[in-house]
């Protein structure tokens, strides 16, 4: 049967569900009715939907770290520290990379090695292996809303266990957790997996428990032009809404140019409302998340603070609902809890100081917004055409055709023909538009922007420019000028 963008029949869902819960022994711990009752007891200040709604109303930007270690008590200690010392408004549980690939045996080995070595040998919390009760222990030990953050193509069992475990937010999507996180998994497969996750969240919703869903905005985190990540975020949002999800946070990763980044956050919400209305999903709560710079960081911690703070400034001025925070250890791998808290505190200081400030509409901002909107509409409308009205089929064909194309993605199901590079002001443009369905106006806009930079630098825009841009922030600059 061809996969379609249609809300799953409950019987069909339950039939699949039986298999899912058998993927690892802890699946047996999940009882949906009991889980719903448990979720209903979680107070509003520990629920993502409520805390996000209030922040959006007040025009505040919330801060959230990434964090996760192998063992339960150590994980709780880490999150407590980020809550109390780091002043995090929202808490994560980052899942380890073995769990992300459903390698639960490997994750088990990691848990055991971690116990033996006395330090975490996993880069996150293996929630499936630990099971429902352990998740609840984490949730109950903390006083902030908790979200699952991962990068899992098939996160069905992870969702079952963590939602039953009391998490109130679940990151990911069939595109954003496939293309940047997998090599060999087809889009069709992950769209199917994520229909399951969204249907599960929709089921909780029907039973009176509103869980937030967050498509992963930054994708490969490397010079992704806003229109690419916006198209993906909005498409994933629409797929989720079809399965009954009513609460969505759409994401975007900082590019570094203030005007482009503000335009991106503003258009992300405006375009989402436009398409959600068009498709009739008019009762969803839409919020935005801004990711501080996801590319290479300077090794020096003071310089890293500069990068982090610039992200915080942009998030605050763009009025993103929340900001995902980096740490001064970013260039060195997984941070200590102190470094993690330090990134949070620097960010908190900035977003608080800028709470009452914003960016006015200017000619450049309006042009930037208009271009992003044109590009996103071009992509999504072509996806609809390709799917003859069906988004799922459209997305599958769009990736085959390169109508959606993510730069630097590991997936074989991504065409990989586009190339981004910065323009002379540091905004991310297209050096190669590949098969993106852009008209001449859009293409000429990008060409002109890159030609302008090329002229200043006295070189033709080329792959060397792209490489220079990838390393430039780590070396202290935004635009990778020739040496």
């Amino acid at each position: 049967m061809e996969l379609r963008n249609r809300k799953w029949d409950l019987d069909y869902f339950n039939q699949i569900r039986e298999e899912v819960l058998k993927m690892w022994p802890t699946g047996a711990e999940v009882d949906l009715e009991e889980a719903v009752a448990y979720q209903k007891e979680i107070p509003a200040h520990k629920r993502f939907k409520d805390v996000l709604a209030r922040a959006k109303k007040e025009g505040r930007t919330l801060i959230q770290p990434r964090a996760g270690v192998a063992l339960i008590n150590e994980h709780i200690d880490l999150l407590k520290y980020l809550q109390d010392e780091g002043e995090a408004d929202l808490l994560p549980t980052t899942i380890d990379s073995y769990t992300r690939q459903n390698q639960y045996e490997e994750a088990q080995r990691g848990i055991e090695e971690s116990r033996k070595m006395g330090r975490s040998m996993l880069n996150g919390f293996p929630a499936v292996n630990h099971g429902v009760a352990a998740c609840r222990k984490v949730v109950e030990s903390l006083d902030r809303p908790l979200q699952v953050r991962h990068g899992t193509p098939d996160a069905r069992l992870l969702a079952e266990i963590t939602l039953a475990g009391g998490f109130t937010d679940f990151e990911g999507g069939g595109i954003s957790y496939n293309i940047p996180y997998a090599k060999d998994v087809s889009i069709e497969k992950t769209l199917f997996y994520w229909q399951y996750v969204d249907r599960l969240v929709g089921l909780y919703q029907e039973k009176g428990v509103e869980i937030n869903r967050e498509p992963f905005g930054p994708l490969t985190g490397t010079l992704v032009p806003p229109s690419i990540s916006h198209a993906v975020a909005i498409l994933e949002g629409l797929l989720a809404a079809e399965q009954g999800v009513k609460n969505l946070t759409l994401g975007y990763g900082q590019c570094g140019n203030l005007i482009q980044d503000v335009a991106a956050i503003q258009t992300l919400e405006e375009l989402a409302i436009e398409y959600f209305n068009k498709f009739g999903y008019t009762d969803c709560q839409l919020t935005t998340v801004f990711h501080q710079w996801m590319g290479g960081f300077p090794q020096d911690e003071a310089k890293a603070f500069g990068v982090i703070s610039w992200g915080a400034v942009t998030a605050a001025l763009a009025k993103a609902t929340k900001v995902i925070v980096k740490t001064p250890h970013e260039a060195l791998g997984i941070p200590t809890k102190e470094a993690n808290a330090a990134g949070l505190k620097a960010t908190k200081q900035v977003v608080n100081m800028l709470r009452d400030q914003s960016i006015e509409d200017t000619e450049k901002l309006l042009i930037e917004k208009e271009m992003i909107k044109k590009e996103v509409r071009a992509i999504i409308d072509r996806v609809l055409d390709l799917g003859e009205g069906d988004l799922v089929q459209g997305i599958i064909k769009a990736f085959q055709a390169g109508v959606i194309d993510v730069p630097f993605a590991p997936s074989r199901y991504n065409l990989g023909k586009i190339l981004p590079a910065r323009d002379n002001n540091g905004a991310v443009r297209f050096l190669e538009t590949g098969n993106l369905p852009f008209d001449a106006e859009i293409k000429e806009f990008h060409e002109a922007k890159l030609a302008e930079r090329g002229q200043v630098e006295g070189r033709e825009p080329s792959f060397q420019m792209v490489i220079d841009d990838i390393y430039s922030v780590g070396k202290g600059m935004l635009v990778g000028r020739p040496r």
Binding site: S97, R100, E106, R119, P180, H329, I334, I467
Partner: protein
């Protein structure tokens, strides 16, 4: 002179593709024949690729902190597969958390790798070492 062959890949469940693509480009530009097995490569895939292509060196990247687990026994397996003369380089964010790199380097050298690189190493560094170790003159 004939081009030296390198097997390049990101080991384990690691999907960091950007550095891999840049390395492929930079190594090719530097005159090597690059066999890029991409991200999420198992120890076996590295070894098979090296045997099939008669490689001179294997370059293992790991960016996600599981490198220590993923690389356990790899140099040993290479030897067992008859790849005694193949250079083994490894680099990236090899361990979870901020650890003294000299300690990390020591552990990987003891495992049997010939060169170990810290986070943030530029392709030029590895290229210079490869030329030296493979006796290539500039």
């Amino acid at each position: 002179m004939e081009k030296k062959t390198l097997v390049l890949g990101v080991i384990g469940a690691d999907v960091h593709a950007v550095g891999n693509k840049i390395l492929e480009y930079a190594l090719t530009e530097a005159g090597f024949k690059v066999v890029n097995i991409g991200v999420m490569a198992s120890q076996e895939e590295f070894i098979n690729a090296a045997i099939e292509t008669n490689a001179d060196a294997i370059l293992v990247s790991s960016l996600y902190g599981h490198g220590e687990l993923d690389c356990q026994g790899f140099p040993q397996k290479c030897k067992e597969a008859g790849l005694d003369d193949v250079l083994l380089y490894v680099g990236g964010n090899l361990v979870v958390g901020k650890q003294d790199f000299e300690e990390v380097k020591k552990r990987f050298l003891e495992m049997g790798f010939h060169r170990v690189y810290p986070p943030g190493t530029m392709p030029e560094t590895a290229i210079a070492d490869l030329k030296k170790d493979l006796g290539i003159e500039d």
